[in-house]
């Protein structure tokens, strides 16, 4: 398979649309023999004589038998997705017919494409860099506005342009330092050390927010886990129902939910939040109940946000504080939101007093709500607080968002290497040590865009794509 995967001489074919009975199904074929192969099964016109980006009606035939009535879309090299000669056959959306046509293409010399092989060819031939190619996969899997936005921005070169520019500047310095090495013992300095220092400072300033955006980017991609924690009858389930009922259409179950906790995904302003309802926490002697509570607390460790909800009419500041301390002891990285429920059961003065006290002891992200009958406004507040809790302080408007773990690791490594270069400069290390550390940073940056890549990385990346892409 390895050999095949990299054999760009082959002409590859695959069904590119989703499987199922539908109006239209598309088969894609790409490679140097694409036109010749299609000419054997499409007799209406000589496909090699047609203009690129034109569409032609006709029939796919096997001998005398007509298989389907189709439209052939012609893409001549290099004006195609793969940059190779390509044809898209738009056939009737019958899985049977589509597999028949694909089989015919294979019988006439095409090879079944591996997952992601079309995109890999686009990358190999320089039409996309690796970060852009990976974004194609992300875009296809996008399930909400923010995911799609970030992916399309990356396809259009957002991240790549940032990285490429930085890498080029660094490359200039690397060349100068390599030059110094050529002169060996002569102790010349072509590369201005203070300029280099300045450049690295610039680069670090540029990639730091990108690296930090991964926390947000990862949340975008995988959903932000929000644990709803509270004592029994604090209103946890009412809160969850309230959040979900508001927009039932975009609620979905998450596979693998246990009987003990309920998980539901809700998109808020385009961000996917994964809400985890838990058992009520309280001090108990009951062994079984203790296990349930332990499980609830375990969820705190996995969460990125905890909504602590309490019954305002029935909970003392001491109890609240004790619960909150316990939550923070479990996970001090989380964003903690405090939600005072059942505000209708107490008078305004008591309420204000309690909220002030909480604010005073440091819980500033505090909202009050009536979970069983929340008004439009309360919900809007809650949702925007949730949204802000994730976005605030992590990303600024229009910034490049990192969603890919591979990019995060590579950029983190680049940063580490650059910080060592700074140390090298301060320690006035020799040119050869400097060159080595700069090279490490260059490689790490190059890995993001694929200027530096290994077969293993490529197979890993493109193997996750769907077939036909």
């Amino acid at each position: 398979m390895l050999h095949n995967f990299y054999n760009s001489d082959d002409t590859i074919a695959a069904i590119a649309t989703a499987e199922g009975i539908s109006a239209i199904g598309v088969i894609r074929i790409s490679g140097k023999d694409a036109f010749a192969i299609c000419n054997k099964i499409y007799k209406n016109k000589d496909l090699t004589q047609l203009q690129s980006h034109t569409i032609h009606y006709g029939f796919i035939t096997e001998g005398d038998e007509v298989i389907d009535e189709v439209m052939m879309s012609i893409f001549q090299s290099p004006r195609s997705f793969t940059t190779e000669d390509s044809i898209e056959i738009s056939a009737h959306g019958s899985p049977y017919i589509l597999s028949r046509i694909l089989q015919l293409l294979v019988n006439n010399g095409a090879r079944l494409a591996q997952p992601g092989e079309f995109t890999m060819r686009a990358f190999m031939h320089g039409r996309l860099d690796l970060a852009q190619a990976e974004a194609v996969g992300d875009l296809i899997a996008a399930q909400n506005k923010v995911q799609a936005e970030v992916a399309i921005k990356q396809i259009r070169g957002g991240l790549s342009e940032d990285i490429k520019l930085l890498r080029e500047q660094l490359l200039n310095f690397a060349s100068l330092i390599e030059l110094e090495l050529d002169f060996g013992e002569e102790d010349v300095e072509f590369a201005d050390r203070s300029q280099l220092n300045q450049l690295i400072e610039q680069i670090l300033q540029h990639i730091d927010p990108i690296i930090q955006s991964f926390k947000y980017g990862n949340a975008i991609k995988n959903g932000i886990p929000v644990a709803i924690i509270g004592r029994p009858n604090a209103g946890k389930s009412s809160l969850l129902n309230l959040l979900l009922n508001e927009d039932r259409a975009i609620v979905s179950d998450i596979a693998g939910t246990t009987r003990d906790t309920i998980e539901e995904v809700l998109n808020i302003e385009g961000l996917p939040f994964r809400f985890i309802d838990t058992a009520g926490i309280r001090t108990t002697q009951d062994a079984i109940e203790t296990i349930g509570i332990e499980k609830a607390l375990k969820k705190i460790e996995e969460a990125q946000v905890v909504i602590y909800i309490f019954d305002m009419s029935n909970t003392s500041v001491e109890e609240i504080n004790s619960d909150l301390e316990m939550i923070k002891a479990k996970n001090n990285q989380i964003h903690l939101m405090v939600l005072a429920n059942k505000t209708d059961l107490i008078n305004e003065a008591v309420k204000t007093n309690l909220l002030n006290t909480l604010n005073h002891i440091g819980y500033t992200d505090t909202l009050s709500i009536q979970a069983n009958k929340a008004g439009e406004n309360e919900l809007v507040f809650l949702k925007s607080a949730l949204h802000d809790s994730i976005k605030k302080g992590i990303v600024s408007e229009g910034q490049t968002i990192l969603t890919n773990l591979r990019h995060y690791i590579a950029l983190s490594e680049a940063r580490e290497a650059l910080q060592i270069v700074v140390e090298d400069l301060n320690g006035r290390l020799t040119s050869d040590m400097l060159a080595l550390d700069i090279k490490r940073a260059l490689n790490a940056l190059g890995e993001v865009t694929g200027e530096i890549s290994s077969q293993e990385i490529l197979i890993n990346i493109f193997g996750k794509f769907c077939i036909g892409k």
Copy 2:
């Protein structure tokens, strides 16, 4: 909905590919505003200024936000499927992105298409007749070679041409007879009665095999039920396994199989056979076993073919004959195949003698087999016997095959009306009676191709299509 469904002034849009994450998804838009609407969300070029059947790269945008990178395929009226101005937007195969783009089209003036509405417009504008349009639905649902062949033949006008030609000839006579009516009392005969008689004879000769082909066509569409009947240990299950093992890839379970009977579908030379394994039949006093046997015999009533299998080493001619008589008593319409099993356990002379006897008493479709270790040849024989049993005597090579119940009913009604016309002619009925009966035949024929159709029929037909077709 009715109103919308017929409002051809609307520009309609729908996702035309199957739902699911995939490389490519296609959105179709058709109607007089198709270009204007797309111009609002695709800013790279003015779509009204482009040539038909050309493909254009660019971005779908909503305000400043880029939704996707797409290819736009331009089809100018009348050179499109619907004959209207149409565009196919080939986007990334993300269900989220596709629904986003569809929503944008709707926001800019398109209407969501009803199921089958694109094909209905093709029919309304004369690009397809009704029989062709119905075949589009059949082709999309095709699951094997024969189904697809029959559908594509019908799309290309096979059935329609037959019917139209006959209808036109009959229409000529009808006009002449209408003319006679205009002359009222004058007792003139413009229409030559003997020529009319001859024409009707021709038409009947032409449509009779088409009507008869429905038995085959229906089998193609729904699978041919084959009951495997025999005494306990005759080798029923071995036979089924043998048939199925040969080509496990195209075996599938049928929903709703009971614990008592096993149903499996196997395509033989492109025809779907639905095999039904049954409990062994024998005379028994056991009440429960009797129920099982009754169920097995019940399957005979539903079958189109019965394979009666018997253990040649262990069953007398009298027993076989008694079983076969019982089967025929249950259903004398079925095709009955007799299969002598375990032929390895007896010598050649006894075998030949037994088979001759069976042949002699009228069971000519007799094969012998060793179901537990059948060779390649025996299976091939069995399968081609099965295939022939369905095709033989019903259809001839290249003949039009009727698969649609609606067509069958219409053609049967046409035949009935034509037979009455023949009686009218023989009884020398008056022109007005004759005209009425010819008209009935004309209407029935016209229903097939949709020259005669009602809203109700159209909604019924196109409502079964998928959205986007």
